[in-house]
């Protein structure tokens, strides 16, 4: 106990180790929190959700905090639903038709345009579809007739994709056109500005049956969402950012532990027995050196399974006979000659007892830095597998975010947050472990002392 305390005191002499340690502990607490706060099944169903789950969020929206660094705030998303806000809806039944008037007055404060404007309708009827007319009253009192159509049980009207409306606005896309002051002449489309003020969107519906109903939901999509932003499928990136932490930690820890411990035991057995066993182990190490690691993982991923656990086992299996075995062997060869091992042999200890009780414990101080340095390597390996499409098909992870982002033009189209956020947490995790590991190596490795 005392020696452990001494070790930590010595470790914290290195500022990098102290910072790294704080980050690692924070990461572990965060991972536990994530797993409790957003249970696995919930996270997966959210992450694999389609347009119905995510229709309320904008596409590739930046995180909200980008507004802190901007002079002009990017608009946020807002929505109205006549089903939730009954005061927006008035119904009038006469002559067998049900006239429904839905009005959404809203304040638009930004000079920047929204990303999209959409109306989602829901109605109940037996045979005849209701008919609606949509119009907009601008702050300066103009009334723009947007469109009219009959709707099914659900109907989505995307203003931004209305070609007819776009022609009406002389080619300006409708979500901009409705906010523009037509008397202002702008030289180019980029110079157009939205007019802030109170707008009112009016849905005049006619249902032809008694008891039929009609509800509308207006969503004006902004350019920022949440603390992490959204991706091309409108999903909230923060889900993957959060769940990436426990996945990365699990993969990194398990593979590092599995590899180092097996390698150490194999090295101990090889050195203790010597002879042909040692020879065989050495030859396997040489063969392992020329096995193309990633290509074999690609083969396994393409032909069999991309599951995280299959990959984990493959990674461990391929790393057991890695370069570390030589280092361990060199140390075991020294320990093997130590007098206390001789004493153990003299009192008749079994081979296994000598390996496990006399050889292995001596190497633990050298093993721990190795282990800690291996963790970030494997955390990044998990991300690498995602980059080449070999990631677990179900789990939301950091690597998958990067892959999605790069694959969908995040770098070329300027959605940097999409790639940089997961890259940043990866770097933070990797560096924390590496900093602690390097400092441990300097404490434990006698050759590096004082250098």
């Amino acid at each position: 106990m005392n020696s452990i305390r001494k070790f930590f005191i010595e470790l914290f002499q290195y500022p990098s180790a102290a910072i790294g340690m704080i980050f690692i502990i924070g990461l572990i607490i965060f991972s536990i929190y994530v797993v409790i706060a957003l249970p696995y099944n919930e996270a997966i169903s959210l992450w694999r959700g389609d347009e119905n789950t995510w229709y309320k969020t904008p596409r590739t929206a930046q995180p909200k905090w980008v507004n802190w660094f901007r002079q002009e705030d990017l608009p946020e998303t807002f929505s109205f639903n006549s089903a939730d806000q009954q005061d927006t809806k008035t119904e009038e039944f006469s002559n067998g038709t049900n006239k429904i008037l839905i009005s959404f007055p809203f304040e638009y404060n930004s000079e920047l345009f929204p990303q999209e404007v959409s109306l989602y309708f829901k109605s109940q009827y037996t045979a005849k579809q209701p008919f609606v007319n949509v119009k907009l009253i601008t702050p300066d009192g103009r009334t723009i007739n947007l469109n009219s159509f009959s709707i099914g049980r659900t109907y989505t009207y995307r203003l931004s994709q209305d070609q007819k409306l776009q022609r009406k606005f002389f080619g300006i896309s409708p979500e901009k056109g409705i906010f523009v002051d037509p008397t202002v002449n702008a030289d180019s489309l980029e110079l157009l500005k939205a007019v802030p003020g109170t707008y009112e969107l009016i849905v005049e519906g006619v249902a032809f049956e008694e008891g039929s109903s009609l509800d509308a939901e207006l969503i004006v999509y902004g350019h920022v969402y949440g603390w992490a932003g959204t991706d091309h499928r409108r999903r909230d990136i923060s889900i993957a950012l959060m769940w990436g932490a426990p996945v990365a930690l699990t993969f990194g820890l398990l593979s590092a532990l599995g590899t180092t411990i097996t390698t150490m035991i194999i090295a101990a057995v090889g050195t203790w027995y010597g002879g042909w066993i040692d020879e065989v182990i050495q030859r396997i190490t040489e063969v392992n050196l020329i096995l193309p690691f990633l290509s074999i993982l690609i083969m396994i991923g393409t032909f069999y399974s991309k599951s995280l656990w299959v990959m984990l086992i493959a990674v461990i299996a391929l790393s057991i006979f890695g370069g570390a075995i030589k280092g361990f062997r060199a140390i075991f060869l020294q320990i093997k000659e130590a007098p206390y091992v001789e004493a153990a042999r003299a009192y008749g200890a079994s081979n296994w007892r000598i390996i496990m009780q006399y050889l292995v414990p001596r190497i633990v101080p050298l093993l721990i830095p190795q282990l800690v340095i291996l963790i970030p390597a494997n955390v990044f390996l998990e991300a690498s597998l995602n980059i080449i499409n070999l990631g677990d098909p179900v789990l939301p992870t950091w690597g998958k975010l990067i892959q999605n982002g790069v694959g969908n033009g995040a770098l070329t189209q300027g959605y940097y947050y999409w790639v940089l956020e997961p890259a940043f947490v990866l770097l933070l995790t990797g560096l924390s472990f590496a900093m602690v590991g390097f400092s441990m190596d300097r404490i434990f490795n006698p050759r590096l002392r004082g250098v």
Partner: protein, 378 residues
């Protein structure tokens, strides 16, 4: 046998000129290495085949090849033109069965695996299903060998530059132990934890997307310049970012590592002795510090290079570099089994070649090999 044991052993080596002996020893060492390496490659390839074949995928490659051949034969045979479609299909099926029997596809896998091994060793890798070589060929061997030079140029150039740069910087740092730069390198050495593709994304964001001064990826600008010099310059421009990414990943750790070895060796007694004799500092460095650490440095470099080879698919994917790694990725995306297996085989060869070449350099710089001691089996 009894007589020979009575003879005292004759010390042959001592009587030879040292230079001859050195050449002889290096040759002997390299021959032994070549033989063990060949054996290792064969075992490695066999393992690759076993992994690839666990789902019967190598069988599929062979069957596909047979089907293609037989179909070609039947199509091109003028005497068979008169057959109806059904007859022709039946003929193809029959011939495929005969051919499969002839090649032993009905035999147990253990026996067949050795046939695959022979194919892999001789680079007889079959035909691709979807990917074409630039000249239109479907032969995996041609596709793979066509892509190889791009990979070699990228990783060869950048790594060799980095090796010498880090060696030089490490020597400089070990001279200025404890300086600001020295502490900076020690503090940033954990940067090696992140792989090079990862830094690739950062440098692409900064230099290609943000500053717009360097290309996002690819090997030459499109359309490729006709002029050879312009072609080379365009290629160099496209290599800046990948090299920078590899450097960010490796440089600080490599310098840290080398510098640590230099420091350990520079406190040896013989170095103190040399200094006391009044030898110039440069000469002490070259002869007494650099020489004995060179084998270790080269081994470290070998491991680095092997790691880089392993990461090639991702790295080339990120930079859109038309090399072997990206071909593996494309093949994996298209489920083009023969190409996946083919590139894996080539990567195994590349790794073996790397190890062998570094062994050779090792033999040249390691005094234990040249002068001869028990170190020869290393």
């Amino acid at each position: 046998m009894a007589e020979s044991t009575l003879q005292p052993p004759i010390p042959i080596v001592v009587k030879k000129k040292p230079s001859e002996s050195a050449v002889w020893r290096v040759t002997k060492y390299m021959t032994v290495r070549l033989i063990t390496m060949a054996f290792t490659v064969v075992v490695g390839l066999y393992l690759t085949i076993l992994i690839a074949n666990m789902g019967g995928y190598v069988d599929e490659i062979r069957r596909g090849e047979i089907r293609e051949n037989v179909q070609q034969q039947v199509m091109n045979d003028r005497s068979l033109k008169g057959l109806t479609n059904e007859q022709r299909t039946q003929l193809i099926v029959d011939r495929i069965a005969v051919e499969e029997k002839r090649l032993g596809l009905d035999r147990p896998f253990v026996l067949r695996s050795f046939a695959f091994l022979k194919d892999a060793v001789t680079l007889n890798l079959g035909f691709a299903e979807f990917i074409n070589a630039d000249n239109g060929s479907r032969q995996v061997k041609i596709i793979v060998l066509e892509r190889l030079p791009s990979t070699l140029v990228l990783f060869g150039t950048s790594n060799i530059i980095l090796f010498f740069v880090t060696l030089y910087l490490a020597l400089t740092l070990s001279r200025n132990y404890g300086s600001w730069w020295d502490r900076f390198i020690v503090a940033t050495s954990p940067m090696s934890a992140a792989p090079s593709w990862f830094y690739g994304i950062f440098v692409i964001v900064i230099f290609a997307a943000f500053l717009k001064i360097l290309p996002f990826g690819g090997m030459v600008s499109a359309p490729p310049p006709d002029n050879k010099i312009e072609y080379g310059l365009s290629m160099l421009k496209h290599m800046i970012l990948p090299t920078l990414a590899i450097a960010l990943n490796q440089v600080t750790f490599a310098i840290y590592n080398n510098r640590t070895f230099f420091l350990i060796y520079s406190s040896e007694d013989y170095v103190e002795m040399a200094k006391a004799k009044g030898l110039p500092a440069r000469e002490v460095e070259r002869k007494y510090i650099l020489r004995p650490t060179l084998p270790t440095n080269i081994t470290n470099f070998a491991f680095l290079l092997i790691g880089v080879w392993g990461g090639a698919p991702i790295f080339e994917g990120v930079f859109n570099w038309p090399g072997l790694g990206r071909t593996t990725l494309i093949a994996a995306g298209l489920f083009d089994t023969p190409v996946i297996v083919g590139t894996t085989v080539i990567f195994a060869y590349l790794l073996a070649l790397t190890v062998f070449l570094l062994d050779f350099v090792y033999a040249l710089v390691d005094p234990r090999v040249k002068i001869g001691s028990e170190g020869t089996s290393q």
